[in-house]
């Protein structure tokens, strides 16, 4: 007769009970969801029950999925341009010793300088080495501390090559990405959307998921702009591009007039980093504008500059375009002002958000963009539910017709199997996607496999005229090897899917993998328990499987 240890029943009962408990909120999704959203209102869902719901993927609830790449290389290039202006002005002072000074490689992530007198190259290197602990180069706000030995300086004949050490590059990359993540988060949060997910992916990518958003337009408008704001001194304005820029100057186009170009000083007087606040407002003519405040040190700089340059124009530059260039009419001491331009109300709103969140340290490229409307999501859920229900019923009926009572045992195990998967999904905080539902439906079909293997073995043993008890015992023993091999191989596929798949496909691999574990558990322990109980209490003379 079968052995029924109290321990075995206890374990199984605990697992079943707790999984039922944790899966239960999902069967009353809308009630629990309402409760979670309005915690103050009284709800029909009791407090003592768990209220963790399975997270629905974007394909089921609708929303925007966006994969972005931060162009960190641009930042490194920009750093070298910056360094070059400094190095040059320092070397120029020593022209007597060094001869002509020229930058020969302007493209890559290095700075190559050619000097006229190669015999004095060591002298030049010594000069450049002074920049090695330069605070200037890393003093932008995404650097935490001042680094030493950030540059690798090498020389060949009369050419000096300056690069960042690998470690330095990596640190810089990390800083840029972290800063970008922070700014993206601020901008997305400012749109007032619910539960956006923003996570780093790989080396320089960021994944943004915003559920419930019906269109990506607003999001792109917010994330597609670096929003680098600077206030620059205007050298001259010309109607065509026949301006020539000196080394410390730059030619910039105008937002309002295509034919107008500005020659500006490269170094800004103040920049967007120094803003403490920005809000949409209106100018004296009632047109949309953005008002801003500087921090004290920038306010002082701005005040002094306006005092000294009354009557001359002053350029407000956003992402390398002059949005307006008002003439300074008086000394502006308070560190606040407004930006005017040809804004609509939405644009001024958006610009305020952008300025508040700060400039992105590098440009962002949208690699992948998926928008799922809420209607489609809702219909996918309904379709998935229906398919699961019908598929489940078909399988249950088929099992009952094929194996009779034993089929019913397997069916109860199958139902518990689904509940277990739901409970595990809730506990693990995994995301349920449409392919995930497909995974569950597939599990319904495949979960009976372990039971089928056992039942077929039992049948064979009965044919060999073993005793009933022995048939069951041997059936289980002999089927075990097949069950393990069969499920391990499917598990391998699920694990590979998890690591190679993205988004919804990952969701499929999760439910498939969980389904495999739970189906083995239910087939080997729960169905077995039913059979043993049946044997103990009914003591059947003939086994009909």
């Amino acid at each position: 007769m079968p052995q029924l240890s109290f321990f075995r029943i206890f374990i199984i009962a605990i697992v079943c009970f707790s999984s039922l408990l944790f899966a239960s909120p999902n069967f009353f999704y809308s009630t629990v969801d309402k409760k979670l959203n309005n915690p103050k209102e009284t709800s029909s869902w009791p407090d003592f029950l768990p209220s963790t719901l399975v997270k629905l993927g974007l394909d089921l609830r609708g929303g925007v999925y966006m994969l972005l790449e931060v162009k960190t290389d641009d930042v490194i290039r920009e750093k070298f341009d910056f360094l070059w202006t400094d190095v040059r002005s320092s070397l120029v002072k020593k022209r007597k010793e060094l001869g002509s000074i020229r930058r020969i490689d302007t493209s890559g992530d290095q700075l190559k300088i050619e000097i006229g007198k190669s015999e004095n190259i060591d002298f030049a290197i010594k000069e450049i080495d002074k920049f090695n602990s330069s605070t200037e180069l890393f003093s932008s706000r995404w650097s935490g501390s001042v680094q030493k030995d950030i540059l690798d300086i090498s020389s060949m004949e009369n050419i000096i090559t300056i690069t960042f050490s690998d470690e330095q590059k990596r640190t810089l990359e990390k800083q840029v990405i972290e800063q970008s993540l922070e700014i993206i988060r601020r901008r997305v949060d400012d749109t007032g959307t619910r539960e956006p997910t923003i996570q780093r992916q790989g080396r320089k990518r960021v994944l943004v998921q915003v559920p419930g958003l019906g269109s990506s337009e607003e999001l792109i408008a917010l994330l597609g702009k670096t929003a680098k704001l600077t206030f620059n001194e205007v050298v001259s304005i010309d109607s065509s591009s026949n301006l020539t820029a000196k080394l410390d100057e730059i030619i910039v186009g105008s937002e309002q007039n295509k034919d107008l170009f500005y020659l500006l000083k490269k170094r800004p007087v103040v920049s967007g980093e120094n803003l403490t606040n920005a809000n949409p407002s209106f100018d004296e003519n009632g047109l949309p504008a953005v008002s801003f405040n500087f921090n004290p040190s920038a306010a002082l700089k701005f005040g002094n500059y306006t005092k000294d340059n009354i009557g001359s124009p002053f350029a407000i530059v956003l992402d390398d375009v002059v949005i307006s260039a008002p003439t300074i009419r008086s000394h502006i001491p308070g560190g606040s002002g407004i930006i005017t331009g040809n804004f609509s109300v939405e644009e001024s709103n958006r610009l305020a958000i952008l300025l508040r969140s700060g400039a992105l340290p590098a440009e962002i490229e949208v690699l992948e963009l998926r928008t799922i409307g809420p209607e489609l999501g809702r219909d996918s859920i309904n379709a998935g539910k229906l398919a699961a229900l019908v598929g489940g019923l078909l399988v249950l009926t088929f099992m009952w017709l094929s194996y009779g009572l034993f089929g019913l045992f397997a069916n109860v195990a199958l139902a518990l199997n689904i509940i277990l998967v739901m409970a595990l999904l809730s506990i693990l905080g995994a995301t349920l996607t449409l392919p995930g539902i497909a995974g569950i439906v597939l599990t319904i079909g495949m979960a009976v496999d372990a039971n089928v293997l056992v039942f077929e073995r039992i049948k064979e043993e009965i044919k060999k005229n073993s005793t009933i008890y022995n048939s069951i015992k041997i059936g289980y023993e002999k089927a075990l090897s097949s069950i393990i091999d069969a499920n391990v191989t499917t598990m391998i596929a699920a694990i590979i899917l998890f690591f190679f798949g993205s988004g919804p496909i990952k969701g499929f691999s999760v439910t498939l993998g969980l389904g495999i574990i739970t189906s083995v558990f239910t087939a080997l322990l729960i169905t077995r328990l039913f059979i043993d109980l049946y044997m103990l209490f009914y003591k059947p003379k003939v086994l009909r499987v």
Partner: protein
């Protein structure tokens, strides 16, 4: 019970009597699939090709040629439009109704937001009550990565399986199982190139699941082969194989049927979004079941297998 007697036939089916013919058919099918793949290619979705996809619905009938003309003249690259069957023909619960016509429009270019706004404006102009159900845009950088990842995943899955079966059984078994898998994967690709169904990320997921499932089947048969080889040492291999397939036949059929029942429910009721996926799975289950009997076992027969299973062999793996 109704179905109980169904598989209880005591007569052994001779699976290998037509096995040579079937081998040629399988080889031919593989050959044709490869040819089709190279001639027709696959109807890649934007996941792999890059581009922008719009799934739209409208209560009016959209004139496909009209929309195509508008879009084609707008310098958007290759444009394709197809009508999708309404996933809700059998449902009334959603916001979509069965009178809605659902179309899928694909545009070659991505270049971020501009294409999306442009196409949206063009379509709204033509069909005022249009609803945008889903918009997907995949850049070429990501799409080539997805292709690479997809191929790596399939390759990696096949190799892991080869190693696992080699450890648990013998190299002949591993080879047999892997040939069966490759057979399944190639035939699935062949079917997708001939039927012009969209081949996207979810189909790769289906391929991997097919690998898992087909293997499941093969392993169950092999497991029985190993057992019978131990028990019937003097019986010729052909007979042992045939016996093993017969032993496991009812299980093979039962599991295939339950899986197919669930899959058909998904295919007809699960909506358009996963229809391609479920189609691949249904095909995979059918081909996988066939291949575990007629390909994997046949390879085993051709390769011949060592019979002295009782002698301990470090490579032969542990018996559970």
């Amino acid at each position: 019970m109704l179905l109980r007697g169904l598989f209880n036939q005591s007569k052994e089916i001779q699976f290998f009597s037509f096995s040579n013919l079937l081998s040629y058919i399988s080889l031919g099918a593989i050959f044709v699939s490869i040819i089709l793949f190279f001639i027709l290619g696959l109807n890649y979705g934007i996941d792999f090709r890059g581009g922008t996809m719009f799934m739209v619905s409208s209560s009016e009938k959209i004139k496909v040629s009209d929309v195509r003309n508008t879009l084609s003249s707008s310098n958007l690259g290759d444009v394709s439009i197809s009508q999708a069957t309404n996933p809700l023909e059998t449902l009334s619960a959603g916001t979509l109704t069965s009178t809605d016509n659902i179309f899928i429009i694909k545009v070659e270019k991505t270049e971020g937001q501009n294409i999306e706004i442009k196409v949206k404006a063009l379509l709204l102009n033509k069909v005022p009550d249009i609803k945008f159900l889903q918009i997907e845009s995949v850049g070429s950088k990501v799409s080539s990565e997805l292709v690479r990842n997809g191929m790596l995943a399939v390759l990696f899955a096949v190799t892991s399986v080869l190693v696992y079966i080699w450890l648990r059984f013998e190299w002949q078994f591993a080879l047999g199982a892997v040939v069966a898998l490759i057979h399944d994967v190639i035939l699935t690709i062949g079917v997708f190139s001939i039927l012009r169904y969209e081949f996207n990320l979810s189909i790769v997921a289906a391929l991997l699941t097919i690998i898992g499932y087909s293997l499941n089947d093969t392993v169950v048969v092999f497991d029985r082969v190993r057992e019978n080889l131990r028990n019937f040492k003097s019986v010729p291999l052909l007979k042992v194989l045939n016996m093993s397939i017969n032993n496991t036949l009812s299980r093979t059929i039962m599991t295939s049927v339950t899986t197919l029942l669930a899959l058909f429910a998904l295919y007809f009721l699960g909506g358009d979004v996963i229809r391609g996926f479920t189609f691949a799975m249904i095909w995979g289950v059918l081909v996988g079941t066939y291949s575990s009997i007629f390909v994997a076992a046949k390879i085993l027969l051709i390769l011949d297998v060592k019979r002295n299973w009782d002698e301990k062999d470090s490579k032969a793996g542990t018996q559970f």
